[in-house]
Symmetry: C2
Subunit: 478 residues, 2 copies
Amino acid sequence: MEREDEETGMIEKEEGGKKVWKDVVIGVLLLCTLSLGISTALLAAKAANKASSIGEFFCQISGTIPSTPAPAPSPPVISTELSKVVDETMSACSNQGYKYTGETNCTCMDCYTGARCQTFVGADKCSIDANGGSPYMFAEYWVRYPETEFQMKLSERLGYLPAGIRSRLEEGIRKLHKLAGNAVTDNMNIVFGDGSTPLLTLVSTILQSSTNSLPLKVWAQKPFYSGYSSLSYANLVKFVGDEENRTTAAADEKVVEYVTSPNNPDGEIRTGVLSHPLTVFDKAYSWPMYTFIDQPFNTSAHPLSLWTLSKVTGHASSRVGWALVGDKKLADAMQAMACPIGCPVESQLVAIRAIEHVLSTQGELMKWGRAKFTERWGRIGEVFRNVSCYKVRNPRAEGYDRYDQKVYKQTPPYLWMECLNLPDQKSCGDMLRSYGMKCRDGEYFGMPKSFARLSLYVASPVFNVLIQKLTNMFANTC
Amino acid sequence: MEREDEETGMIEKEEGGKKVWKDVVIGVLLLCTLSLGISTALLAAKAANKASSIGEFFCQISGTIPSTPAPAPSPPVISTELSKVVDETMSACSNQGYKYTGETNCTCMDCYTGARCQTFVGADKCSIDANGGSPYMFAEYWVRYPETEFQMKLSERLGYLPAGIRSRLEEGIRKLHKLAGNAVTDNMNIVFGDGSTPLLTLVSTILQSSTNSLPLKVWAQKPFYSGYSSLSYANLVKFVGDEENRTTAAADEKVVEYVTSPNNPDGEIRTGVLSHPLTVFDKAYSWPMYTFIDQPFNTSAHPLSLWTLSKVTGHASSRVGWALVGDKKLADAMQAMACPIGCPVESQLVAIRAIEHVLSTQGELMKWGRAKFTERWGRIGEVFRNVSCYKVRNPRAEGYDRYDQKVYKQTPPYLWMECLNLPDQKSCGDMLRSYGMKCRDGEYFGMPKSFARLSLYVASPVFNVLIQKLTNMFANTC
């Protein structure tokens, strides 16, 4: 394809640590002030308990940053001066919605309404979407770092393969793996694709052509990632995780095993069970927010692993995925198929901004993510306590964590639950949906219908509703 | 894969026509003032003729817009007030380089140097890159429309498939085809991919699986687009345009024909010669900048055509391509492989901005492109006039143009030339390179080495050098 020579050049370096910290402190203080201000305003609007607790919660979460007593509540006056420091995407919508660049209206979160999303409609009067894996909660982190914003000009970088972008992203990713301690990238080739899903399909296609068997059979242990069952590539690849058991799959050396570790939906740490020559590791969730990191992923032993920006920084819609590939020839073949003339420059620029921020703050995002998910799992533990008909089925292993240098108990991003004592014909998903919780049915993961997955990636106000809805359902049906 | 429900919402509407026009007039006046100012400054820096002519040329090109006498030359003082209206990406670098957002240094064009790219190194002392198809010249258009810039926040649109984006882009593309008059999109499905090249490879893969022959044979008439010869998809697809002649290819009904029309490298208008059931149209260059549009492409008769943003608005690195597909099932199969969880949101936002600008200005960009390429072909005609050893081989057909409602002679974006009387063993490409013109050899297009392709997408200052170099080469060798 039309490959262009790269020019020389570099884009702006991230600001140094000191400046960032100063901005963070100012930003968080302002945001807390605003949150409290908005909360105060909402008190008058009869949404007092809800909004107030959200405002306080947000400030608690930011407690990992050097704190100063929050100023007394004041009206939400947003001056031009402040708007230079604060990202108002969420605060302009009472932190219960989003006001996107250039838009005049708020897009409210589930269960919130009003011009500024200031009104909670009531947990029993609305539905929440906890079906997909959209990492909405990360917006709460990024609004605190408005210095990561940048101007997108239509006159810039028009040529194919603009200079310095890919190499800078690659450098950032290698450093990110080192910071997280989750993979050794030395001697590994990095292949970029628009998300890890397309990389997965093309890996399968390449492997297919090397096995000379049509279609290529792909297998994963149950419960497997629901996406695999719809993975097909023009009849070249067939997922047989549902129809073949472990013994059958193990008997055919040509079957490729997909190992998702930590696993989706349950967070289980896996190493593969078929011991076949063709194994692909899906490492989307191997980050400190979700699990302990006891040792870096052994890329020499497993020279084909897939990673995605979506689950590290939350930028799912940017579609930035990468593979760590030991074999140079395979890496080249993959890159010739994925982004043959380079991946989109704009999403690479976003990825560079996000990753360099994580690096320059020594992983502040990961600490924030851990605190957030730990808090959420604490509340899930409370709501399931002494409940006999509904059970949490995430194994939630504990292990020594190199990142924090102490034992960490897994905090997976999905709640994988089982409904016991279900009425005939009813699935766990049906039960959850009847209480207004959109979820993913166990059958999509190769499991009985008594299982269901709920996303814990929802924004904080929506998570509060989720907890309330589970509480109500347990009280009424168990 | 993880498909998410779309939320409701819309992003900002483009500004109305009136406001845009006002800004355009102000912007162009300011830019001409700056260009002239910079030219004046450069006079003192011994680069007088060159820079001055560029400044004037730029203002001439903008003559399609209501003009006012340009103010007298003045020093290049750029106040904060002006910087709000003018995009300084190029003007900050003497219009002979680019200063990207956040960067402190200029990236100079070929043959220009200095902190502000103010110095021309001399046509005989430098090389220019006219090999690839990077549409650099479009930057000269977009700097005139700073109102198309937008802020990219890391806190926005984190979820998969953000609401309203794909549908808005699709709507823009249908209107763009209508404005250009180059395709009927009624009853056609639009499939998005990251560029048209990946769409081409996946179409081939899908077609392959329907023919049940391995590998799928793909053929195109010579001269064919150089990218096709490297098109391969894990041994599933094989390009046979080089090794099979028309008769052999026609005899095998399973051979897929790629029809590039207007053709790359020469701009020829093609309709396909094999008359096989499987034909894919590559319509990258079917826009008013390059050719007359006598009638919209008949999508009912040819229900599989590929298009790309790169050659309409110049945003090659954004990787936005689309296919117009008649068959819904094929369209769905393609979309399940290309961007299975949506294409990158950032590049879609850029595409929306660019396309809605073209629509709201009634195709100003296309008029600008025609003027630009017409001027360039005029200069090429002059330099080749009465030259016996070098010939232009673009057919440059004339036809009635619905767009301008008069006859238009094609202005293709590549110069396809032949070198006659070459010394033994030497190729036309060798000859051009020996004079510092990087080009693409005829052999990549399935043609003898006496042919070569030069890109006319280079920026204006580089095009001036190209003309100078050709003039020198002709004078010395012919």
